[in-house]
Amino acid sequence: MTRSPFLTCWLIAGLTVLYLPIALLIGTSFNASRLTTQWSGFSLRWYVAMFHDTALMDAAFLSIRIALVSATIATLLGGIAGFALARLRRFHGRTLFAGLLAAPLVLPDLLIGLALLLLFVAAERLTGFPQNRGALTVVLAHATMCIAYVALVVESRLASTGTTLEQVAMDLGAPPFTAFLRITLPLMAPALLAGWLLAFTLSLDDVVIASFTSGPGATTLPMLVFSTLRLGATPILNALASLVLALAAGALFAAWRLGRARKY
């Protein structure tokens, strides 16, 4: 097939728009100068400074801990919800349940954050839990937000595989629960992993909901980055962004390799 030069130009233009900013960011993170506009030699000084910035490191570790816990909770609950939607074709309130479950996908973060804040304050006044806002409330908020994403991924995976394999398992003497453990769960596993990764990324990335539901002691990485930016950009942030990018690319590559190994 011959490619028209016109299409090739469009492809290059499109890729440039998408990736030039990222390339610039990575380049700048190695710039010795404090000024973005002026190249004064290759240096790792911003990476060193980043690792010495204790506030930044604390925030990063807090964010990772929150993301780990909230992604796990969301995967458990979202997995169950996705299974129910895909396998229980009819139950009372199914449409309502599906709608409520998908709501966080379309609701603005601002609204979710505000609503959760009000809930936490009211709950504390009535029951004493959760005591003040902090890491725990952010975990609960992120888990709530991510359930919808996990459920969606799991449901579409299960809907595409159908119920025949479970029927085969039951035909071969497996009671329903054994069929679920031996057949459905292994089939769901890639979707659960993908959902967990998605939830982890969403939690790590969120600034709006975290700002509403966090308390004085708990500043997540995105919150810290945001407040730092208000005082002017520092090249440390470029280094941080480049590092996150490298980690994300590495995880993506690992997932791709795993997926390829699984097939053959």
Partner: protein
């Protein structure tokens, strides 16, 4: 009721729709019974009821003197080979075959040797560690068969076991399947829509139409003595010619064909008010120069050379289309020419339904 497997008055209704309407069927031990029908005839529904995936609205199933109607699929001594095989993609060949055995509590060396035995049975020795995706279509078919045979089911259900295979592979696999089922003596119900397949593998065939068993019998019974026009046309090709009863004596019937021809055949009971049809198989028609009874005149509309036969498309004087498969040595009649055909009266089929 006798028989190893009996279905007694099986009914299945979804609201106003009747999928199966009071079906009775008895199958003896070691028999290969083929359920033949078009899609929507209820054949897969019956298989699902036998496998325990659907509960009939009425009726019961007795297998080896035990009523299994209320047993869930995982407690029935019945196994199914599913359409398109439905092999577990996340398990190796040996794990697929051993799945049912593990559910019985079989482990370790006993399990391994039984799986190896089954692999030998389907001529896939040493393939136990393969992934399903590494197997060809024919190999997958055999693995699915071995998996469904592993628990030595009292009744084996096969849902279109050959339909996913290439035509070239189908005939060979069909012979293998038949030999294996006969060797093991497994009582089997095979569902198919392919009449050639049904004729070739069945001990008996049941033709299902609109949730009813229209006729049950040996393949030769159904082919030579179909009960209805639909079965005559479905099992092999048949020319259906409307006829009128002209005269009946103690041992012969005389029939008036369109265009003034007559057919004389041995007497048989016919429904008095029935609309009569004479069914003539295309292969039982031959050219003739005679003009007596059991001959008819037709006009040639076209011919197709098929190697073993020369297939003619013809038309009777009243417009009824007719097909005749002649010997390829027969002279080629030009299009539009008239010719005369005859048949052996014992091969003619008179239908009153």
């Amino acid at each position: 009721m006798s028989g190893f497997v009996t279905f007694e008055g099986i009914e299945l209704r979804y609201g106003a729709h009747t999928a199966l309407a009071g079906l009775d069927l008895s199958i003896s031990q070691g028999e290969i019974f083929v359920l033949l029908g078009t899609s929507g005839s209820g054949k897969t529904t019956l298989l699902k009821i036998a496998g325990g995936f659907l509960t009939p609205s009425a009726g019961r199933i007795v297998l080896d003197n035990t009523d299994i109607t209320a047993l869930p699929s995982w407690q029935r001594p019945v196994n199914t080979m599913f359409q398109n095989y439905a092999l577990f993609p996340h398990m190796r060949v040996a794990e697929n075959i051993g799945f049912g055995l593990r559910r019985q509590g079989m482990r370790g060396r006993e399990l391994a040797s039984r799986v190896e035995e089954l692999l030998a049975l389907i001529r896939l020795e040493g393939h136990g560690a393969r992934r399903i995706s590494e197997l060809s279509g024919g190999q997958q078919q055999r693995v699915a068969l071995a998996r469904s045979l592993a628990r030595r089911p009292k009744l084996l259900l096969l849902d279109e076991p050959l339909s996913a295979l290439d035509r070239s592979l189908r005939e060979e696999t069909r012979a293998d399947l038949l030999a294996l089922l006969k060797f093991l003596g497994t009582t089997s119900i095979i569902v198919t829509h392919d009449q050639d397949e049904a004729l070739a593998i069945a001990d008996r065939i049941g033709v299902l139409r609109e949730g009813r068993l229209e006729q049950v019998g040996r393949p030769s019974d159904l082919y030579e003595r179909p009960a209805t026009r639909a079965i005559a046309a479905f099992l092999g090709a048949a020319n259906l010619i409307p006829v009128r009863l002209a005269e009946s004596t103690a041992d012969t019937l005389s029939l008036a064909l369109p265009g003034g021809a007559t057919a004389i055949m041995p007497v048989r009971p016919i429904a008095p008010a029935g609309l009569l049809h004479l069914a003539l198989r295309p292969e039982s028609l031959t050219l003739t120069i005679g003009t007596g009874p059991n001959t008819l005149a037709a006009t040639v509309e076209g011919a197709t050379y098929r190697g073993a036969t020369r297939d003619l498309r013809l038309r009777l004087p009243d417009g009824t289309p007719l097909r005749a498969n002649l010997s390829p040595d027969a002279p080629i009649p030009p299009e539009g020419s008239a010719l005369r055909l005859t048949w052996n009266p014992s091969r003619a089929i008179l239908l009153d339904r």
